[in-house]
Every structure is written in structure tokens, then in C-alpha cells.
Amino acid sequence: MPLLDIKNLTLEINTGTQVIKALDKINLTVNSGEIRALVGESGSGKSLIVQAISGATPPNWSITADRMSWNGNNLLSMSEQKRRQILRKDIGVVFQHAIASLDPSVTLGEQLEESLPDQLIEGSWFWQRAQSRRKVVINTVHKVGIKDHEQYLRAYPHQIPTDIGQKLMLAMALISQPKMLIADDPTRGMETTTKVQVLKLLSRLNQTRSLGILFVSHDLLAIASMSHSMTVLYCGQTVESGKMKHIRKRPLHPYTKALMDSAPSFSKDLPPKSQLPTLAGTIPTLQHLPIGCRLGPRCPRAQRACVNVPAVRKIHDHSYSCHFPLHRDKV
């Protein structure tokens, strides 16, 4: 029974003048204890998915999905109150810019205590509850790898370095012992040393607490080593998803292949001083999306049939949506 199951999620943004289909039939499943990577170039709508899941949508967005369920119950049809309960208890979200995602006028200790649900603290009298609340906050902060918690808990967001901020965001997400963690590219713009620290922390949590992680990123190297499965996204369409091993060995979608080739460490047989193979053209802007398969104009194998949207095909849990996949010449 997958933790999070999303099928055919479409998101239309009404920008006053025209309606843009930012996400087109997204399929995404995360099982408990599984690290799924969601990969796509910037501007492919990754953070839109995260916002769609958390329900924090501005009025001019309209979300339709065949199924968007959490542990079996459908998120879309749920009451606002119930959905917020799940978000608070079971899902933790970590955003990209840590400092910007923290309230500048509230101390970090307060913000951490605020995201702690009441069920997790004991004590009948309010001062007991406050003490236990502080205790939980302090050991979560330790768990996330910040030693000197005293100084940081009293500080304000603009007074702390970004990596500490990132760790605090993580602590804030984990404090409610969620079942699933959505990390929206937490390591972007970090030096490799701190980046490795954060990734190791995430995988350790996954093993010890079998925490499902949806890791959204565009940095293939970091993810390949730790995630179990991967979904590739292009311009709001899921092009391929499946086990990490299969995709690395035999990518079926040309875009996934191009992505793999562009990461130097994968293709070992690259002759010295040769050009890295990349796809021609650039990502189309939201206003000028091509019809049918959105990779169409840039795909070297594009043919007339690519004009209509390719259906999703599955080969025992390795699904792709392309008319002319690699390694399998017939349709």
C-alpha cells in the first residue's frame, strides 16, 4: 500500500489572460521507507508538485487528479481540517531557501515549538508541557547535528548561516515524526561538504526510522547513490519512472538518456576531450508549450506520431511515456 499515490495530476494556472497547463498528467507513488527522487531541469514544475501536495495553493490555481491519496484516503476530497491534520502529523516539508522560509520576526525556538503537534508531549500542567516541549525540541536539534542549541534557539532567522538554517528546517519537519518527508532541493547552492552531511543525515533517517522521502532535485550525482527509485519530469510531464538500477542500466526515454549522458561520472567510456552529448534547443517557456510529447522539437528521434501525447506503458514497475523508446524498436 503506497504512502503517497498520485495519478494523472493536472494543474492549470489562470494568469488572467490565458490558462496554462503547468502540470500535465503526473504519476507519482512513494512507498513507506522508500527514497524516491524526482528529477527534472529547473522550471519543469517540481516545486509546483510539492505545493500541490501541501495544499498551499493561491486562488488562481485549479488542481484535478484521478487519484491523490495518502494511505488510501483521497487528499482532494478530504475536509480542510482533516487534510491539515495529516500535513501536520504525517508529512514534513523542507524548502529550498531555508532562511526565507522562516518567519523573520519570531525566534527559531518558538518556531520549532510551534510545529510540534500536541500529541507528542506529555505532562498535565502547562509548565510541565512547556518543559517537555523544550526537551523534544532540543533533542531533535541534536539529532539533526547542531551541537550548540542554546545560541541558535534564541537567535532570529537572519542571524544564522544557511546550512544551520537548512538543518533547522529539517528539524522542524522531523519534529512531528512524520511518515514521509518531502525535501524540495534542500542542498541547492550548498558547498559539497555540507551537502554530503545533509544527504547522509537523510539516508540515515531513512534506514533507522524507515522514513519515506520524496527527494526533489536536479542534481543527479547526489541522488543516484542514495535513492531507491526515480521519476524523471520534463515540462510538467512524467516521462519515465522506475527502479534506480533499471533506469541507470537501460534508460528507455531519450530525455532520461540525455540526462544520464550529461552527468560525466556515469558514462565511463567517454573519450578524453570529447564534447558532452546534450539535447539541442532550450526548455520552452510556460506560455509556448508544444502540443503532444513536450520533448518533441528537441528529441532526436521525434517523428510524426509524437504530435499526440504518448500513453504511459509499464514493464514490470518500469513505466515510460514515449512512442519510440530506446532498446525497444516496436511501439
Binding site: V50, Q51, S54, G55, A56, R84, Q85, I86, L87, R88, K89, V93, F95, H97, A100, S101, L102, D103, P104, S105, V106, T107, E114, S115, Y156, H158, M172
Partner: protein
């Protein structure tokens, strides 16, 4: 903390000094005899003129004169009004509280009505209610205050006869002015029917306060609305919502606090326009405040009263502005100066 306090103390004393220098320069700028502008007494003959000149050291150097002028100021000897002959400190201490009382009530209404309405229209941005509130506030903001006061007089007191239109209280109530604040004086006055006096004073207060408050409330609504919309677009609101907080919690814990912080420096500017409007409206409602007193002084060319009136009002306003700035600097943790806040 101490560094900030000392910095503001220096700023305040510097501004106070520049204001005193300004009022000192008025002695020579006004087209009357320097002696009369300083003391308010027109010397009848040459002998009295000489006596006054050296009593106030007017013949030696500017610096000594200025030093002596400052010591006179702090000693409380502010000179005498040219026309009425009363000591200026007495007259100002009687007129200033009236204006303070009027502006305070107006500011109270501005805050109590302006901020909730601003938040309301900010939260429901770009909806019809927001549009109506915004258009009402734009209209109210651009009404000239004296015309609004005249319209209020014509409708509420002459047409319907509900409200009195002049003075702070019906003069038949004999309230000895102890503190200058009418509400307190009523409590202190003994042989007067307090309930009747209180309700009469309130009735007299309504029209002037409403005509001042309208304009400032309108601009407060616009400022708050703009600030709320800016905060709502900030990323930490999306983060808070994804933490599963209810909209009410998000508003009161995060949105309201972050929206009100940049408004404080603008409140200081609001106070300046409020007091200017109060001084204009006082002449219409014959409210015995400092504005009315100053305008009478300019009509009578009472130069010593003008000099002291200017010093008193500008010191009051500058004190309030700097106090608000200091208060804002202290409680605003983010140190990030809200320099260019748009209205």
C-alpha cells in the same frame, strides 16, 4: 541596546538644539523689533528699551545670546504674548493639551478602524470587498479636511441638529483648567454635574475627531492593505501553511506581526498629517487648541507667541516621531531597515 538608546538620545538633543536655533533665528527674522519678539513687551521709551536689551544680553555676541536664550527657555521664562500680555508658558500649556487630546482620539479611531479594515481588505485581496474598501479609502484620502469639516457641520449639526459644532464643552460648565486635558479636568472639577459634563464633552468631540480621522484612516487602510499583501506573498507563509497551521493561527502568529512592523515608521508620518489637519479643523470648530491659538497669533501678528508656539508644536511632533522610531527599532528584531516601504 544601550548603543541604540545613546544614539537616539544624541539625535533627539541635536534636533531639539536645531529647533531652538531655528526659533532663536526667528527673533531677527520677524519684521518686529528683536526685543519685542523675544520678550513680548513693547518698550515704551528708550530707557526701558536699554533695560530690556541688557537684561537679555541682546547687545553682545550671538553665541552668548543663544546660550542665554536656551537657559531662559529651560528656566520656563518663555516671555509674554505681545497682544494679551499673558505669560506664554501658561497659554501654551492650556492650548497644547487640547490639540493633543483631539489628535489622540483621532489616532485611536485611525488605529481601531484603519488596521482591521486594512487587514480585512489585504487578506481578501483583489476581491470585490477589497475593491470597495480600497475605492472608499482612495476617495476619503483625497477629500480636503476643511471641506469635510464644513460638510459635517452643515449636515450633522445644522441639518439634523444632533451634534454641537463649536468649542470643547458647553461654556456653561465651569471647569477650571488644571491639567488642560478636559476629560481629566472634569474628573478633578468638584461643583459640576460630572455625567452631564462628560457626555457634553464627548458630543463636542465627535465631529472634529471624525473629520480628522477620516483622512488618516483612509491612508492607514491603504498602508496596512499593501503591507499585508506583501507579507502574504513571502515564502515563509507557504512554509507555515505546509506545516499545517490553520489560517487563523497563520494570520495572528505570522502575518499580523510581520505586516505591522513596517507600518510603524509610517505611523510617525501619519501623526504629522494628523496634527496639521487638527490645526486646520480647530479654526472651524473653534476648538481652543494650539492650532487655533497659532492662527489667531498670525492674524494679530503676535510674534513672540508665534516663536514659542512654533517651538512647542515642533518639539512635540519631533519627540513623538523619534519615540516611534526608537520603539520601532527596539521591537523590530529583523534589523533589516524597511527603507523603501511603498504606500
Amino acid at each position: 541596546m544601550i548603543r541604540i538608546l545613546s544614539r537616539y538620545a544624541i539625535l533627539f538633543s541635536l534636533t531639539l538644539l536645531s529647533l531652538c536655533a531655528l526659533s532663536f533665528s526667528l527673533i531677527y527674522l520677524f519684521p518686529a523689533e528683536p526685543v519685542t519678539t523675544l520678550t513680548g513687551i513693547t518698550p515704551q521709551n528708550l530707557m526701558q528699551h536699554e533695560a530690556l536689551m541688557n537684561q537679555y544680553h541682546l547687545n553682545n555676541s550671538i553665541i552668548v545670546q543663544f546660550a542665554d536664550y536656551l537657559s531662559e527657555l529651560f528656566a520656563g521664562n518663555w516671555g509674554v504674548s505681545l497682544i494679551s500680555g499673558q505669560p506664554l508658558s501658561e497659554e501654551i500649556m492650556l492650548a497644547l493639551p487640547a490639540t493633543i487630546e483631539l489628535s489622540a482620539c483621532a489616532m485611536f479611531i485611525v488605529i481601531v478602524v484603519g488596521i482591521p479594515l486594512g487587514c480585512y481588505s489585504g487578506l481578501r485581496a483583489y476581491s470585490t470587498t477589497d475593491f470597495t474598501i480600497n475605492s472608499i479609502s482612495v476617495t476619503a484620502y483625497s477629500v480636503p479636511v476643511f471641506w469635510l469639516a464644513v460638510l459635517f457641520i452643515l449636515t450633522f449639526s445644522l441639518q439634523f441638529g444632533w451634534l454641537p459644532l463649536s468649542g470643547r464643552i458647553n461654556l456653561l460648565f465651569d471647569i477650571p483648567p488644571k491639567t488642560g486635558f478636559l476629560m481629566i479636568d472634569i474628573l478633578l472639577a468638584d461643583n459640576v454635574d460630572r455625567a452631564a459634563a462628560f457626555s457634553d464633552a464627548l458630543l463636542h468631540l465627535i465631529l472634529p475627531v471624525l473629520s480628522i480621522a477620516c483622512i488618516s484612516t483612509a491612508s492607514m487602510i491603504r498602508i496596512t492593505r499593501r503591507s499585508i499583501i506583501d507579507v502574504l506573498n513571502k515564502p515563509f507563509i507557504i512554509a507555515a501553511r505546509s506545516k499545517g497551521l490553520s489560517s487563523k493561527q497563520i494570520f495572528f502568529r505570522h502575518v499580523l506581526r510581520n505586516a505591522l512592523l513596517p507600518i510603524l515608521p509610517l505611523m510617525a508620518m501619519q501623526i504629522t498629517t494628523l496634527i496639521t489637519n487638527a490645526m486646520i479643523v480647530e479654526t472651524l470648530f473653534s476648538w481652543p487648541g494650539i492650532g487655533n491659538w497659532l492662527i489667531q497669533a498670525i492674524y494679530q501678528r503676535d510674534y513672540s507667541a508665534l516663536r514659542m508656539g512654533m517651538l512647542a508644536v515642533s518639539t512635540l511632533v519631533v519627540m513623538i516621531t523619534i519615540a516611534i522610531d526608537l520603539f520601532n527599532r527596539l521591537i523590530d528584531p529583523s534589523r533589516e531597515k524597511y527603507e523603501s516601504v511603498t504606500i
